[in-house]
Symmetry: C2
Subunit: 295 residues, 2 copies
């Protein structure tokens, strides 16, 4: 393929896999941050007239958006044929509603901004809740890679007799899909907020799953509060030690250490955001989507 792949720092594994799989040139890119926090982007490649792939997972997005904008504008100005952004994690999708008066719905404007400077987007399981499709907020073609087959295959390999647990109703979409792929039972917990600090989780059929390994699944693990609360509850109802699976390993502040501290049996995430918990490989799925998209 007559393509050049540029990767933001931290995305080297995926860049190398893409380059190997598609026989694409690796573009050299360095991003320097000056002491005044301006960014300087430098690139080396012969890319005029070529398909360009930029790999930049978008956790901690505010600091990445300007260098990404500079890079993409330059590539297009210098004659890139098409510019595909691979953002395995897509930021701002949870801000899809004005939760309080006057709040700006960031998801929509973030999508508009990305749409203004890339030609197409490939991402993995974006957090779609109130928006049903990226098409509602992006004006460029968006290709969504689903991690469920990779997660299913990992559970099949690693977990005996699993029961999938969705910590809340939003997680039903991920949990039910994986459960059906591995022919395992699943339970969506019901969270009732009693006050600011107290949540009541109910799991009426716990007795039924005593011999199963509980596997909690969610799309984004950020503060890990939901996971931790859920693990505590599963302990209270005497289930076996819990396996935790997240698609996107955001793990803000010391969330990962806190989650380990709850004595989760195992924590596994997909490699959409580089993290030591990455055990589930979705890079092949991304490459397949890229192959289908730009060839």
């Amino acid at each position: 393929m007559n393509a050049v792949v540029f990767g933001f720092p931290g995305n080297e594994l995926l860049v190398n896999s893409i380059s190997d799989a598609l026989n694409a040139e690796r573009g050299i890119i360095t991003i320097h941050r000056f002491p005044d926090e301006e960014s300087l982007v430098r690139i080396e490649a012969n890319f005029a007239g070529k398909e360009i792939v930029v790999v930049a997972t978008l956790d901690h997005p505010d600091n990445k958006i300007l260098p990404l904008y500079f890079l993409c504008k330059k590539l297009k100005a210098e004659g890139a044929k098409t510019l595909t952004l691979i953002a395995p994690y897509l930021a701002y999708m949870r801000q899809d509603k004005s939760f309080h008066l006057g709040e700006i719905v960031s998801s929509d404007y973030f999508a508009a901004l990305l749409s203004s400077f890339v030609d197409r987007l490939i991402t993995v399981d974006p957090h779609l809740h109130r928006h049903h499709s990226l098409r509602e907020i992006f004006t460029i073609p968006c290709h969504v890679v689903h991690s469920s087959s990779a997660i299913s295959s990992w559970i099949r390999d690693k977990v005996d007799n699993p029961v999938l647990i969705g910590p809340d109703s939003e997680s039903r979409q991920w949990v039910s899909q994986v459960a059906s792929e591995i022919h395992a039972p699943y339970v969506i917990l019901n969270k009732e907020r009693l006050s600011d600090r107290s949540v009541k989780i109910s799991f009426p059929d716990a007795e039924k799953y005593k011999s199963f390994t509980p596997v909690i699944m969610d799309d984004i693990i950020s503060t890990a509060h939901t996971m931790i609360e859920t693990i505590h509850h599963l302990k209270e109802v005497n289930l076996k030690p819990t396996v935790c699976i997240g698609v996107h390993a955001l793990f803000v502040e010391n969330a990962y250490e806190q989650l380990i501290h709850t004595a989760a049996n195992m924590i596994a995430t997909c490699n959409t955001i580089p993290h030591s918990s990455n055990k589930i490989n979705v890079h092949e799925l991304i490459i397949q989507e890229l192959r289908d998209t730009i060839v």
Copy 2:
């Protein structure tokens, strides 16, 4: 004036002055940063059909650009008549050239991005070096406020018998203007770089200025290296203790402490970036420009 003024955090003094001077409503804005470093902007104001002024000085620009974009897009979407951005300090103007092969000229793309979501810009003495006018890179009307009259007036009040010193040729534009306004002599130093770590500064007529108070002037004080080197040189040639003036008090890392440590007689900056060294008030000049522009 039928205007509403929104200020980014840190710009309260200028917002209040504008609001008082123009009898404009203060829009309430809060910017929250989540632990995953996404921003949430919330605004309260009745602004449809009104002139909107957004005050956001743009030091440390990368973290500010997304909330600024969200805010401006929302204001326009909700019916703001015109949107004026007041950025007393304008970032990225020093990156006006590809200094090494492959470096992206950020100034041009930064200007293009701002031009895409505000209607006009007011700024104070942008660092124009290779670009001669903001018109070369912005596609919106740009109004430049010159700090020289405020600086001249401050020097007249505070400094006896000044000689203005420009540390390098780039500073000539600021230094010569102020010198002519206060009828003082000025000297532009000649910096010759001998190696990475050694600079030779020559000041042939030093003897002539023994009775004067040297006033070093520059537009941006960032690392303060240039100021510090220059002060050391003025000491070597036995001039009186030096007054340092900068338009924009960037002062990265511990630059301010280092500059104080050189025993500068006095350090004064304009209030384009809030800093404890702000002694020269340019807010009235900005308000005058705003008055001329949007009435």
